[in-house]
């Protein structure tokens, strides 16, 4: 099976988020970048599928500038076979989805996996857009995936429960935990990642209808006030007059 795994290059979850240039640009100084955690689950699942089937090939793709190559190398170290970088800032979800679907059209894939969403902009729509552009089915977010014959059996998270879904290839899937066990690159993986192919391709033009004017960091929440259980009246008073959530 030929699998394409799309990965994002995002700030580590513990990074301090600040903006520069009149709050129009993320300040990446001193920030450690990682593979989007949901994307990493997608990659781990792709590796499980390939290794179980004993055949197949995994390509990882990222839309990003040259700064993202270390992230792609890490994906190769974890176990992808080759990497592709579409040489551009990921300007918007439409832009990114167009690049991915274009790459899929020009190369044959059976399955496209990615995380349910990135953890920087959290758009959560690229998988759906890619499926639409390819005229494929899309399932998102899936927590479990089994391949039986030519059928894909999936468990999808829905509000308040789970949905069991059966589908045929080709498919675009958005993944989340616990779809696969998170994989740590091994020494061998790291050393072989240097020799695996990493291809850079030019983006295709996309007309962009919107642009970001500014970002805003949310105000930190104020501290928690503890009220003794015997002072219920004080609690009601505070909820009414300070928090203004009661009339």
């Amino acid at each position: 099976m030929k699998i394409l795994v799309c990965i994002t290059h995002v700030p580590d979850t513990t990074s301090k988020i600040t903006f520069i240039e009149n709050n129009s640009k993320f300040n990446s100084a001193g920030v450690q970048f990682i593979i989007g955690p949901y994307d990493e689950y997608a990659l781990s699942k792709a590796i499980d599928i390939r290794d179980k089937q004993g055949v197949g090939e995994i390509t990882v793709l990222n839309v990003g500038t040259s700064e993202t190559e270390n992230t792609l190398r890490k994906a190769l170290a974890i176990g992808a076979d080759k990497a592709v970088r579409v040489d551009s800032e990921p300007i918007s979800s439409i832009f990114t989805a167009t690049q991915i679907s274009n790459f899929v059209k020009n190369n044959s894939f059976d399955l496209v996996l990615m995380g349910r969403e990135s953890i920087d902009f959290n758009g959560g729509i690229v998988h759906t857009l890619v499926a639409e552009m390819l005229d494929w089915e899309c399932v998102n977010p899936i927590m479990k995936l089994d391949i039986v014959g030519d059928k894909l059996l999936m468990t999808k998270e829905v509000d308040g429960g789970k949905e069991e879904i059966e589908a045929n290839l080709p498919l675009v899937l958005g993944c989340q935990e616990p779809i696969a066990e998170w994989k740590i690159p091994s020494m061998k993986g790291i050393m072989s990642s240097r020799t695996k192919p990493l291809v850079v391709i030019d983006p295709i033009p996309v007309s962009i209808g919107s642009k970001v004017l500014a970002f805003e960091v949310p105000q930190p929440k104020s501290g928690c006030k503890m009220i003794d259980p015997s002072n219920l009246e004080q609690l009601v008073e505070l909820l009414k007059n300070e928090a203004k959530v009661l009339n």
Binding site: N70, I184, S186, M187, K188, I190, M191
Partner: protein, 594 residues
């Protein structure tokens, strides 16, 4: 890894200056090394740190499982040659991996014992059959290793071991009798490197496999820290092993024991460094969260002083560690180029830098102890609570000053090695010492400073080295062969030497950092380097004074003290402001970042 450093001979730092271009610094890791460090961090975060309690409870089978996982990742075979299914990584990479895993508490100890003192004796001293038999399996983790040197009656005095080996009348086997103590990994090890005296005389290494009749284990020891590390006694009672299991040459066991320790010592510093960085980060995060007097305690000067001082010492010892590591690597390449085998090359290189290895063992373990102690203090009551991580950091730190040769033994070794090398003519301590005597008799000349960011500090270093040569030279002349009995003076002198090596390494690293990344990127590191040197000068003066006053009187004492003062002169700096700047950077970053 490309190492473009021109190395000095081991110990030569005391009599010569080094150019910053000739040292390797952590800022020069290549992408592959960074990926390996990141792999270690991932492994720690996912498999080790969430299970520290279970590890410390010695949950059945857990340590073996984690070592197996480390084996799958390649962590156990990183520095094994490819011939034995290893990755053949260079010494700096192996130090970096050790550093990263050093934050793993008891697991780090088990890992280090397996890959270091457990596996290296076979790699360096085993014959081909022994290497083929054991190394690939030790590298993959299928077999676990342990090292049995210490006995109830012989710790620091390792060669006083009583365990005996006697050849059987048929000449095919040795029978071991004796008792070994404080044996790390004993509970689950498959392969034991055992030292015993053949016929009570010839100190020799042996390989003993688990399950050999006559070998038995004591109960798990109850320890202050590293509770998850299996530590037991190992007993040999008419334990018969094939004579093929003799490791190295008969009567040359001390070569194994001591040579392995050189590598073990510098690696201990690497592990301690990793633990120090993690401990510093815990302290920084806590200081930012803990509100007292309506503000985070990180806002207070007393706490900022502690946070900064932790970072200063960590940065300093890291500078020295990777400087020495790359020197060893370079020497190893040189020896290999001269036709030595891989094994001979690393052993030879580590032995050439044995002084630096001993310095690092002492410095690394004492930095960690300082960082953990102040970590407890920063966390206050929570630092003393066993439910918070500082308790474990504090307890686990303490052993580092004891094993791999106590810090006292290592301090004495530093001096012992210097003097032996001088006597053998390998290091010319005599000429500079004579020049200093002459200088003492003359009027001090004002000297033009060199150029560069640390021109003044480097001149200070030159003078500090003179203070050591003067004091040590006098002690050597006065006591001659009985100097080894003057342990207090040896402690003073080694403290001076350690501080000079670390201070110099710190300045060189910062200078290199600035040359690589520019002044703006290194401005806090400049503060760190200056504060370290500033404080080192006073420590060196005090140690020198104590040495001089304990071996001289009258005019002689006056003259030496005057000389000491002259060689430890410096301009003072505002360390409070420097530390505040350093602390600010740590607090902003929310972790140790230098």
């Amino acid at each position: 890894m490309e190492v473009d450093v021109k190395n000095r001979k081991g110990g030569e730092f005391l009599i010569k200056s080094t150019d910053y271009q000739d040292v390797f610094t952590p800022e020069q890791y290549d992408d592959e090394q960074k990926m390996m460090a990141s792999m270690c961090k991932d492994f720690l975060d996912s498999d080790i740190l969430p299970h520290l309690d279970a590890i410390d409870r010695q949950e059945e089978g857990l340590m073996e499982k984690l070592l197996n996982k480390a084996g799958e990742l390649g962590l156990l075979s990183a520095s094994l040659p490819e011939k034995y299914e290893g990755f053949g990584k260079d010494f700096t990479t192996s130090l970096l991996i050790t550093e990263m895993m050093g934050a793993g508490h008891s697991f780090a100890v088990a890992l280090a014992a397996h890959t270091g003192i457990g596996m290296l004796p076979i790699l360096y001293f085993g014959n081909d059959a022994q290497k083929d038999k054991y190394l690939p399996k030790l590298g993959s983790g299928v077999l676990k290793a342990s090292y049995c040197l210490t006995e109830p009656g012989s710790g620091s005095d390792a060669l006083a071991a009583k365990t005996k080996a006697v050849l059987t009348p048929d000449g095919l086997s040795y029978v071991l009798n004796g008792q070994k103590m404080w044996i790390t990994n004993a509970g689950f090890a498959d392969v034991f490197i055992v030292f015993a005296k053949i016929d009570g005389e010839h100190f020799t290494g042996f390989i003993v496999e688990k399950g050999t009749a006559g070998m038995s284990l004591g109960n798990e020891e109850h320890k202050m820290g590293i509770k998850g590390s299996s530590t037991r006694q190992v007993f040999f009672s008419d334990c018969k092993i094939p004579k093929e299991n003799v490791l190295g040459e008969i009567g040359k066991g001390h070569l194994i024991a001591f040579n392995i320790l050189n590598i073990g010592r510098i690696k201990l510093a690497a592990a301690a460094l990793g633990a120090s960085k993690q401990t510093s980060t815990i302290a920084i995060k806590y200081a930012k969260e803990r509100i007292q007097f309506k503000m985070p305690i990180a806002n207070f000067g007393a706490i900022q002083h502690k946070l900064a001082e932790q970072a200063i010492r960590i940065y300093a010892v890291e500078s020295a560690l990777y400087r020495a590591g790359a020197d060893i690597h370079q020497k190893e390449e040189q020896l290999r180029g001269m036709g030595k085998t891989n094994e001979e090359a690393l052993l030879g290189a580590a032995s050439d830098y044995a002084i630096e290895c001993a310095i690092l063992k002492v410095a690394g373990s004492e930095v960690l102890d300082y960082v953990a102690d102040e970590g407890v203090q920063i966390l206050g009551g929570y630092g003393y609570s066993a439910d918070y991580p500082m308790d474990r950091a504090y307890r686990d730190s303490r052993i580092n000053r004891i094993f791999e040769g106590t810090n006292e033994i290592n301090r004495m070794l530093i001096l012992d090695m210097f003097l032996k090398r001088a006597l053998k003519g390998e290091l010319d301590l005599m000429s500079p010492a004579m020049a200093i005597q002459k200088e003492l008799m003359s009027v001090p000349e004002s000297k033009d400073l060199g150029i560069g960011i640390f021109a003044q500090e480097k001149e200070v270093l030159v003078q500090l080295k003179k203070s050591i040569l003067m004091t040590a030279g006098f002690a050597a002349q006065k006591f001659m062969l009985t100097l080894s009995h003057e342990q207090e003076i040896l402690m003073n002198l080694s403290d001076m030497i350690i501080d000079v090596y670390v201070a110099e390494s710190t300045l060189l690293r910062t200078e290199k950092l600035i040359s690589l990344k520019g002044e703006k990127e290194g401005n806090i590191q400049v503060e760190i380097s200056k504060v370290y040197l500033n404080d080192a000068i006073d420590r060196i003066y005090l140690a020198g004074k104590n040495a001089i006053t304990s071996m001289t009187e009258g005019d002689e004492q006056k003259m030496l003290l005057l000389g000491l003062k002259r060689f430890t002169k410096s301009t003072s700096i505002n360390t409070k402001e420097s530390r505040r700047k350093i602390a600010k950077k740590l607090i902003e970053a929310d972790k140790y970042i230098f």
